[in-house]
Symmetry: D2
Subunit: 344 residues, 4 copies
């Protein structure tokens, strides 16, 4: 049975699994990333972004974002993020832990998005040493509520960031979905727009485990390998973390996976919008749909075994589509909702 | 080509890979460990140890040891370890980082092993607040130099630890090799001997990635799940970390793998001991052999492509055998050494 | 010239200075608190609170609050505080730093005060490991906006805290002002009401430097001396930090100082309330008055050399009275405001 | 009664106390260092060192050294120090705490002094990411065993440090005693010799509380004020920490105090050397004497009330002379030793 609780309920996509199995057939390989697979994947990611970036692999998104942020600021600095940012709401204090105490300064903004004005307001609010100095602004692309920053929005944020001497970090747990939604080259919403560091999500895109941290500003990556090692994020049998990326990168499987998830979300949104008792929240652009369901309907769905989360930030239900979500699952799920709504 | 640099050069053993693939066939599964595979593996580990322990999965040994130690002491406490302990020599300050500054107090000891007297000496040396209060003693089993603590040695250390109010932690990156070498039940060298927490190594035993942290004293595991989450060690698609353990645990594959590595090391040691120019160091008991080779011989081997480490702690070469090390590789390697030594 | 920017603009009160000088006349004294003065002051604080509490001295309020909170929770736990709490707004991430990443969860509340309902709402909002588990609730007494929690309010908060397994911490940078305002025994608003740890402010009450951390629950103070040492908060010539407290404690100078500051604030509030163009905010109960002044008036006052802060939390001006604020200064200041307001 | 346990048993020297009292007579002063006294003292220290350095005041030596070191390296870097260095032996893990886990790499060396060769050996021992990268070398001047680095020794160490891209930190808890002993300009053993940051000790030199952190490389001081604030080392009534330095700096009282302590140590050493049963260790150059006393003599002295420490690093007794140690105390103490030794 498939669910809409999270895109991390899905398994490994066939291409990633094939690459993992192939990497296992090569016998002994040097550990800690000195293997041929890892170097190859790093090069492929550089090719993908069309720039000489530094690439590191970590085990999950908590580590990717927390360590990237820690490398951009000291403990007495602060990070500007949206109030719905995953690093603020769902990392159990991971960014604060890895940075040794950097504070997250939250801003509000429509559709889960930061704005230049909100950033400016936070930066200029205080300038005394009793308040941690802002050093980083972080965007989630696609956002926690399934929306996507446009190229222009990212550029505008990066511009204000540069003027205020802030580094720009992108939480790209669902970066692929954003690229697919915008139909742009990945460089257009990252380094060409002013992003310094991208946490490029692999797990939700079809990997078993692992994210890539991509430093477009290579100077910021100095000694980052030591940071990973100390922080328990250096895999000994690294090829099993890196090689599966080949499965995603070859033939643009990563985009195909993302497009599929996005399409399923569009289908879900269209079908939900047609049900009078249901209200679709935000504007679904990536692979998430947020919708207010009548409480009795949500309860009935759960009783039937469907898993999905209530979203704390909005009051609605969060419905995530994965790379493997089937059209018939979406149809069945929305049919059940329609039927439950119709019932008195 | 196979190497003797590290047992983490080896890949995934067939049984672990099969379990991973099977876990991927079940479709959507709840994330963060709420899946059926993870619960099953935890139960299997409890069965294995014949006690109701708490089991957690992390990505690697740095994290396993550092987080386990951090849960046993505060930043102003200290951890007693052998001067050759991996946590002291090869974790880039990981234990200090995760604990927020706990100091490692190192002791010397024959064959890479701590002794009750050495521990006692450290505990009683200072009792003022200018020195971090010892709270934990940590053993590596099997040790960093390929030796193994006997049941009696562990009991004696645990006894002094209890008397001095120290918790006992075991770095079991190669725990399987120790169990295989001693031919005892795993409980005999852990909780029945007084060990509070075991970091049970899976990677070197044939997994792609992952170690288990086993709390025999369940009270010590309180809120450890939060600690893992914050520290970037909670896998979202947890089943791909946990399920491969089934491949190891079913039919005692973990012991078979360990016995094989140990046997290859015994073969290596026997053959090296028979070469007059070579001196075998320590007493090989697990899957490592340390040997002094004539420098020109070591150089020649490396020129031919063999990979192995110079061991900083002893001056010798460290030669590790893995679960998949072939008998003919050991024979060829030692034959080459013999031939190179013979040549003037 | 006197100012209203902060009660820490004031110097050392005569009695504290006399005690410091006397402590210097005794010649050599053991360091790090093993002197006779420090023991004496600890006993005096125990007498004051009528209970066998543990007492420690630190250099300032950042350290007092941060270290006390760090001793009550682990890095993956959280602390519930008011959104205007000093630890949230003015410690540059100190609590996060000393705790290794504990998150502050802020609540709103009238008059700068937490309520049982607000605490309950935060505790029950989430119960998953992606969010740091609440472990502490912290009150500032008197509050950052010059109000005071009544005995009943503290009891109600402590009751909900106990039910939810939260420890209760009190930031008492201006504890003396609260005791003076309520005219209660200090035990009534601390341990008898359910407070576990009090940071008892000395600096703003007339000391040159130093605060006391008072653990009413002695078990929570285990190894706290080590924590202080490691965190750079153990004075070598401790008697110069502790002895001045004798000057405050003898003859209830601490209360006299606080009553004076409170009285000056009352005078200030009365005189400001009588000026039509001025709006007094909150209800001044301790030694602070918050008032909205016409911007041109505030600017003119500053031009004449008066120092005071704009309060970020409310839009008004914060006017603090100290132990040494003179009645004529308050009168002159408010006369000038009246005159400036009258002028067109 | 005077003691030889530590130079921090002494009180405040008259000049420092007078400055503190004078600072208290000026009424209200801006807090957190924006007062006139603090600016004045910073300028005086710049004048003293004849360079435009950045000066900060902290409460004690633990904080001074730990925060200075933390500003020179990241958590995955390491600090090279002598095995007898105070930061290694007596700070309860303070440097590890403030840096978030930086490891101290200890070297041996005669007379408590690091050598260029020892530093070189540590730097070149490892170059892999499993070992924290050395970033700082720290010298204690005068050393923990009462010896003093010559100008040439410091220059030689700084030269190797620069070549290896290490910053040079000086723990100057007894910096004054070293300057007095060498009779050089303070710049000669600091920035002119290649020292980047000095922790300039005030407490042992006659202050009630406080040390200065002096950054000769101003770039290294960027945002250090935020670091101090977050770390609980920013005094609100800063003038009481800074002003007493005026008492030390005016008329070179700091040197007079140091010279006196040194002279008393010389007297002590001469008189002890003349007692056959006593062996003076190291070469007393500053204000400390280390001597092996017959155990029964040491015990008898303690019974009579004399306080002094057994030195863990050498087996001898550590005898510290302070700015106020009286000649007759030294004479009486050594007379008693002579008499006790003579007695069978």
């Amino acid at each position: 049975m498939q669910h809409f609780a999270s895109d991390n309920y899905a398994g490994i996509c066939p291409e990633a699994l094939a690459a993992l199995i192939e990497a296992n057939n090569s016998g002994h390989e040097p550990s800690y990333g000195d293997d041929s697979w890892t170097q190859q994947v790093c090069d492929r990611i550089r090719d993908l972004f069309q720039t000489d970036c530094e690439v590191f692999f970590v085990f999950n998104g908590t580590a990717a974002n927390s360590l990237a942020l820690a490398s951009l600021c000291q403990s007495y600095h602060s990070v500007i993020c949206h109030e719905l940012a995953h690093i603020e709401t769902d990392e159990c204090g991971g960014p604060e832990f890895f940075s040794g105490g950097s504070k997250l300064l939250t801003a509000t903004g429509e559709n889960g998005k930061l704005t230049p004005d909100a950033i400016e307001a936070i930066v200029t609010r205080r300038a005394d040493i009793h308040y941690p100095k802002p050093k980083v602004v972080t965007l989630t692309q696609s956002t926690e509520v399934g929306t996507v920053y446009s190229v222009e929005e990212i550029r505008a944020i990066a511009a204000i960031a540069k003027r205020r001497h802030l580094k720009v970090h992108m939480d790209g747990a669902r970066f692929a979905n954003a690229v697919a939604a915008l139909d742009v080259h990945p460089s257009e919403i990252t380094w060409r727009a002013g992003v310094d560091v991208l946490c490029f999500g692999g797990t939700k895109n079809g990997l078993p485990v692992g994210e890539a941290v991509v430093f477009f500003d290579q100077a910021l990556a100095a000694d980052f390998a030591y940071r990973l090692k100390q922080a328990g994020q250096l895999a000994s049998k690294m090829r099993f973390i890196s090689a599966p990326w080949l499965g995603l990168l070859d033939n643009d499987v990563w985009l195909r996976n993302a497009r599929h998830g996005n399409a399923m979300a569009q289908l879900m949104a269209r079908r939900l919008a047609a049900i009078p008792e249901v209200k679709v929240l935000f504007t679904p652009q990536a692979n998430a749909v947020f919708a207010e369901l009548p409480p009795r309907v949500a309860a009935a769905l759960r009783e039937r075994g469907w898993k999905f989360y209530q979203f704390i930030g909005s009051g609605g239900c969060r419905l995530m589509c994965a790379w493997d979500t089937k059209q018939e699952t979406v149809e069945q799920f929305t049919d059940e909702i329609r039927a439950l709504c119709a019932r008195q």
